[in-house]
């Protein structure tokens, strides 16, 4: 809990990040979502705006959860790592706390935007939404765990920055965050296969299911398939994260 609290406090310092993300969200929804919904085939046009808004929320959650990796580099640069390792907290508790802290703080950032999205989309079934939000927590924790794992594996701010940039470009575009699976499949079978097993697809499906946009879902049966996908994603990266973090930092050095 101490580690989680520390990461939440650190996050509130990043006002610029919060402002930037909010501007990005507004531009995506008010311009791209609105205009693109008039550009798509009639069968999709009726729901595409709502579909896209839900996808933007998941994209935001993903990029906010990744941010914990950048904190790790800042700490490494300023020598805070050695201090953290000297605390009476086990490595396992440290990485688990950071992963959960990363997930919660991204929810704090995305929370108001989820409220806006719900205002735009509407709410069909509160219980479904509750299940969906719980699953999105797992998604956020999993992405934070993934970011920590990659950060401590690469141990280079430049490499991490570029790797996460490329990964972000691929993981979002090769998912159903922006477009339904049926169109991804028509475009390329390879893209469709990657999209089917992409955690961003699981999360997008989950949020859309929770808000009642049930046309064009990818996972079958819902919500079980998406929840299983997210649970596997969360445990994989939390466990891998713990193992990698312990191994890479033991001996107390970043270099």
């Amino acid at each position: 809990m101490v580690v989680v609290e520390r990461d939440l406090r650190t996050f509130l310092r990043f006002k610029v990040l919060i402002i930037m993300r909010s501007i990005w969200f507004a531009a995506q929804v008010a311009f791209f979502g609105l205009i693109a919904s008039r550009m798509v085939v009639p069968a999709l046009a009726d729901i595409y705006f709502e579909y896209y808004v839900a996808g933007v929320v998941v994209m935001m959650l993903y990029s906010a959860s990744v941010f914990i990796g950048y904190d790790i580099f800042e700490e490494a640069e300023h020598g805070v790592f050695e201090y953290l390792l000297s605390l009476p907290v086990s490595r396992r508790e440290l990485v688990l706390g950071r992963s959960i802290g990363g997930g919660i703080r991204s929810f704090m950032l995305v929370g108001p935007l989820i409220a806006i999205a719900l205002f735009v989309i509407g709410l069909a079934n509160p219980l479904n939404l509750l299940i969906a939000l719980s699953a999105l927590f797992l998604f956020a924790f999993g992405v934070s765990g993934m970011s920590i794992t990659i950060a401590v594996t690469l141990k280079s701010g430049d490499r991490f920055d570029i790797f996460m940039g490329v990964l972000n470009a691929l993981i979002v575009r090769l998912s159903t965050a922006m477009y339904p699976q049926v169109f991804v499949q028509r475009a390329s079978l390879t893209y469709a296969e990657i999209s089917r097993f992409n955690p961003v697809t699981f999360a997008s499906d989950m949020f859309r299911w929770g808000t009642g946009i049930e046309t064009y879902l990818t996972m079958v049966p819902m919500p079980l398939a998406a929840i299983v996908g997210l649970v596997v994603f969360f445990f994989t990266f939390t466990l891998v994260g713990v193992a990698v973090y312990e191994k890479r930092l033991e001996g107390g050095g970043w270099q």
Binding site: W24, Q28, I35, M39, D161, R173, F183, Y191
Partner: protein
């Protein structure tokens, strides 16, 4: 003139220090083109397809302009950093006039954009088709005007903001407004239709029409795809944008580096 060339060389050398950043940027642009545009190609309505034919062909010039914008804007980040760390005192100690200093930086920003954009433009030609020689020269000229204008805009943004956080926020605002209120992702005619229907405020429609990114992307499309048809207003918008921001940036930069 020699001093201006020295400044350009200085900034070009700096540019290649960001090779990882550039590799990331180019992979994002290519992901937009080779994944997002390929999928949207399947999604566009028959009505829009009549106008743009293929979304992939339509978006390729857009992504070229997108790349040009992001790379030409980078000079602002460096100048903001120099002003904050007072490195401009060193610049002022060089045997170079203020004007040459400002002009060199402005042109270097534009040239960096052109260099980064070249592989994207080549990819566009490979996908969409090659222009004739006069068209090619016109495209390069127009994109150079756009690149220097963007470089000027980034310098104006950089010298008007006192902290890195404010610069990043202002940059984000400029980026998203210019990207999304333009014809990079969707045809201008669609934005105009939404304006006529009252869905989109008229001010946004006017901004999209005057937006230099719209003019740059549509100029390439007019030569390669024939749609939208070429209009002199495209060149006029680019010249106006370039003149306004190169002039403002030159004087703003000269003024800011002389400030104690």
């Amino acid at each position: 003139m020699k001093a201006v060339l020295h400044m350009i060389e200085h900034d070009l050398r700096n540019f290649f220090r960001y090779k990882w950043w550039l590799a990331g940027l180019i992979s994002m642009n290519l992901a937009d083109l080779l994944i997002m545009a390929v999928v949207y190609n399947q999604m566009v309505s028959p009505e829009i397809a009549k106008v743009i034919k293929s979304y992939l062909d339509f978006f390729a010039p857009g992504v070229t302009v997108l790349g040009l914008f992001a790379s030409a804007f980078m000079i602002g980040r460096e100048i903001n950093m120099e002003v904050r760390r007072q490195i401009h005192h060193y610049m002022l100690s060089l045997p170079i006039t203020r004007f040459e200093l400002a002009l060199g930086r402005l042109l270097a920003g534009g040239l960096r954009g052109m260099m980064y954009m070249s592989p994207l433009l080549l990819t566009t030609f490979v996908f969409v088709g090659f222009p004739s020689l006069p068209q090619f020269i016109a495209i390069l000229g127009a994109l150079f005007l756009l690149a220097t204008g963007i470089s000027g805009l980034s310098i104006v943004t950089a010298v008007s903001t006192t902290s890195f956080e404010k610069f990043v926020t202002a940059r984000g605002l400029v980026y998203y407004i210019l990207f999304f209120c333009s014809s990079i992702f969707y045809p201008l005619s669609l934005i105009q239709t939404l304006g006529q229907e009252g869905v989109m405020p008229q001010a946004i429609v006017v901004l999209a029409e005057l937006n230099p990114l719209s003019s740059g992307a549509d100029l390439i499309r007019s030569f390669l795809l024939g749609n939208p048809p070429f209009a002199l207003s495209m060149i006029r918008n680019l010249i106006a944008f370039s003149v306004v921001f190169t002039t403002t940036a030159t004087f703003a930069y000269m003024k800011i580096i002389e400030r104690k």
